[in-house]
């Protein structure tokens, strides 16, 4: 008699607990007999047996052996080529070294908070994204100046500023001068813990006219995304449609500091996070400009932040010089707007031309 009463007995029967434990007992006994030897549990033979059983089960479900082998091969290739343990170990080890073994008396960051050690540590990760994940091809790297200042103007997209990192690497890998491009980032990233500090350390600078002017004064190459947050959170249906170029602040800057502008088109970045819808009410409560909703985010949580492996192309155009304008012209709002529009059309043209040529977004 069950101490809880007759109904508990009924429940037990209904759940067939007794039967279940009776069924499981021989299975566990069998497992012990086969895999438990004097050295302990034999994982290797267990794995082999499990694999055999799994294959057998798949065949029973009607999956052919050929498909299974293909699947296995694909997984192996994925593991070897993309998730090489060495690569992850390297990155993790470097990051750990940077954060835990800092020499106390050595000066580390530059005036904008970039730590060269952190840059070196995360470079393998971004090189992996550049070479294997997005397979970036670069055109017109010769248009980048080998020295002296310059403003790179580009289209912007992709939820997080991956495009800035890829343009940085494109200049680092493809140009002989191996220049370190500084990029200006929308200030909302600095509201977040970890993200803001990380972007500072890898060389990001908050986007504002004062910072841009300071960087150009020190003869840096600077990436500017005049589309700003509007571009970053572009809807999928608006992809490759360049948004309004702010109030043309970059033109004013270029005229005042006599800096050439290098137009740049990034193809492929606009599909890595297909934004279907933006929620502004939710975002406001979180202190961010928008909350994107993609097929994977926020449904899969942090996993939804993994970008899609599209094929990228970065094209640098011929430098545009505003040297014929005087500093006084920077006050002329109409002229500034017209020049900004010209640059926008130039980049739109480059984007359209490249999109016509490509066959698929994946290859």
């Amino acid at each position: 008699m069950n101490p809880l009463g007759p109904w508990a007995e009924d429940l037990e029967k209904a759940l067939k607990l007794e039967q279940l434990s009776k069924n499981i007992k021989p299975f566990l006994d069998q497992m012990e007999k086969t895999f438990l030897n004097e050295k302990g549990f034999d994982w290797q033979s267990f794995q082999g047996a499990f694999q055999q059983y799994f294959q057998h089960w798949m065949e029973q479900q009607g999956v052919s052996k050929k498909t299974l082998e293909d699947l296995q091969q694909a997984l192996q290739i994925l593991w070897k080529d993309w998730f090489q343990p060495r690569f992850f170990q390297e990155t993790l080890f470097n990051l750990a070294r940077v954060y835990f073994l800092q020499q106390a008396t050595e000066s580390s960051v530059d005036e904008f908070g970039m730590d060269p050690k952190v840059v070196e540590a995360v470079r393998p990760l971004f090189q992996f994204l550049y070479k294997d994940y997005w397979r970036v091809s670069v055109e017109g790297a010769r248009h980048l100046p080998a020295k002296g200042r310059g403003i790179i103007i580009s289209n912007h997209s992709g939820m997080l500023p991956y495009d800035a990192a890829m343009i940085h690497l494109a200049a680092y890998n493809e140009h002989s001068a191996k220049r370190h491009i500084r990029f200006l980032v929308e200030d909302f990233v600095y509201h977040f813990p970890f993200l803001g500090t990380f972007i500072h350390r890898i060389g990001g600078v908050r986007a504002c006219p004062e910072n841009a002017a300071w960087l150009l004064k020190k003869n840096n190459l600077v990436i500017v995304f005049p589309e700003g947050v509007k571009g970053l959170g572009k809807l999928y249906e608006d992809r490759y449609q360049l948004q309004r170029f702010g109030r043309g602040g970059f033109v004013r800057l270029a005229i005042r500091t006599k800096t050439p502008i290098i137009p740049c088109a990034v193809i492929g970045a606009e599909e890595i996070h297909p934004v279907l819808w933006r929620s502004q009410i939710l975002a406001k409560s979180m202190g961010i400009p928008y909350l994107p909703v993609t097929p994977t985010f926020p449904w899969l949580g942090p996993l939804g932040l993994i970008p899609l492996p599209t094929k990228w192309e970065i094209i640098f155009g011929k430098p545009i010089s505003f040297s014929k304008y005087k500093a006084k012209d920077a006050e002329d709002d109409l002229l500034v707007h017209k020049l900004a529009e010209q640059v926008r059309e130039k980049i739109q043209e480059m984007v359209d031309k490249s999109i016509k040529k490509r066959a698929s977004i994946w290859f």
């Binding site: 800092q102 106390a104 008396t105 960051v109 600095y190 509201h191 500072h200 004062e210 910072n211």
Partner: protein, 333 residues
């Protein structure tokens, strides 16, 4: 700080007369200057000041009568910072003092996520949004600027109003709430944030004060050392243990600590542990004929007393103002 400036002035022979105004007489007996006990918070303070100014024939005035620790009693702080400055300026106008120098801090800009990396003197001082302590400092600045507008330079005698905004002052003899913060064995940080910090050495600041006393430099100047340091780095150089705490927890801890008189600052100052507040010293370097001897990092090393050679180096480059003794809590020169 006032004590250091006083001693530096005394060493620069040939200067006619120095008087010091303070709540209490100076802790060390020294000759060469006269001392008056004045309480700026009294209602008739401006009459007392005017009498002293007229009697001594004052030419220049350095105003640094501010709490170095944010006070618990906000009314008292307001009385001293805002109303005290008002009394001082009334008396200065009546006694037609030619030169007014205000010692301020770069904290008045406030630490915000939308600050540019380098704040110039033109940038609006937004620290009032953070804490009433900074609000009163900004109010003192505003009164000085108003004073210079009311008494323009073309008037006779010309008035020169200078405001020096110093970054976090470090050095072997300084004591303020930021040195208290760095002196604890475990230094709290906000989890996920590691802002850049900037320091200036006390002897550099004293030299800047001497510069504006002996030469005319009207306007606002940021007095900062070269270079910046992340907070985590500064803590490791000081030989302390950084303790990252989630923001909400740290805020409640700081609030409790503040009421229990353990924490050095009220929780309003937590923004300085999260965001940038770095000033651009270019204007002072170009116009003051002054350069910092110590970088931010060297100032920190000097503060921690780790390196002897650092003080030797300072003595070599600047033999007059290498040594100064401890400064009392409230100084009025």
């Amino acid at each position: 700080m006032g004590g250091s400036i006083l001693r530096a002035l005394l060493k620069n022979a040939g200067h006619p007369r120095i008087i010091s105004l303070d709540l209490q007489p100076p802790s060390k007996k020294s000759s060469g200057f006269r001392h008056y006990n004045v309480d700026l918070t009294e209602s008739h303070a401006h009459e007392v000041l005017l009498e002293i100014f007229k009697k001594e024939g004052c030419q220049a005035l350095i105003h640094s009568a501010f709490f170095t620790l944010p006070p618990h009693n906000l009314e008292e702080s307001h009385e001293l910072h805002s109303i005290g400055t008002m009394h001082l300026l009334y008396a200065a106008a009546k006694a037609s003092i030619r030169k007014l120098i205000l010692s301020s801090t770069t904290d008045v800009y406030g630490a915000f996520p939308d600050n540019p990396n380098f704040l110039t003197e033109d940038h609006p001082a937004r620290g009032y949004k953070l804490s009433p302590f900074l609000k009163d400092r900004i109010d003192a600045e505003r009164q000085f600027l108003d004073f210079s507008r009311k008494h323009p330079r073309c008037e006779k005698p010309q008035t020169v109003v200078t405001i020096l905004r110093a970054a976090t002052i470090l050095g072997p003899h300084v004591s303020n709430f930021k040195t208290h913060f760095l002196q604890n064995p475990v230094v709290p940080m906000v989890l996920g944030y590691d802002p850049l910090f900037q320091f200036v050495h006390e002897s550099d600041l004293v030299r800047a004060f001497l510069q504006v006393i002996f030469e005319d430099h009207p306007g606002v100047y940021n007095i900062v050392g070269n270079g910046v340091l992340p907070l985590s780095r500064a803590i490791s150089i000081a030989g302390k243990v950084p303790l990252p705490i989630p923001e909400t927890l740290l805020t409640s801890l700081a609030t409790t600590g503040w009421y229990l008189n353990v924490a050095p600052t009220p929780p309003d100052h937590i923004n300085f542990l999260k965001y940038l507040c770095i000033a651009d010293g270019q204007h002072a370097w170009e116009n003051l004929n002054w350069r910092p001897v110590y970088t931010s990092q060297e100032a920190l090393l000097s503060f921690t007393g780790k390196t002897l050679w650092m003080s030797l180096r300072a003595k070599r480059s600047n033999p007059k103002i290498a040594s100064s003794t401890s400064s009392p809590r409230n100084d009025r020169v």
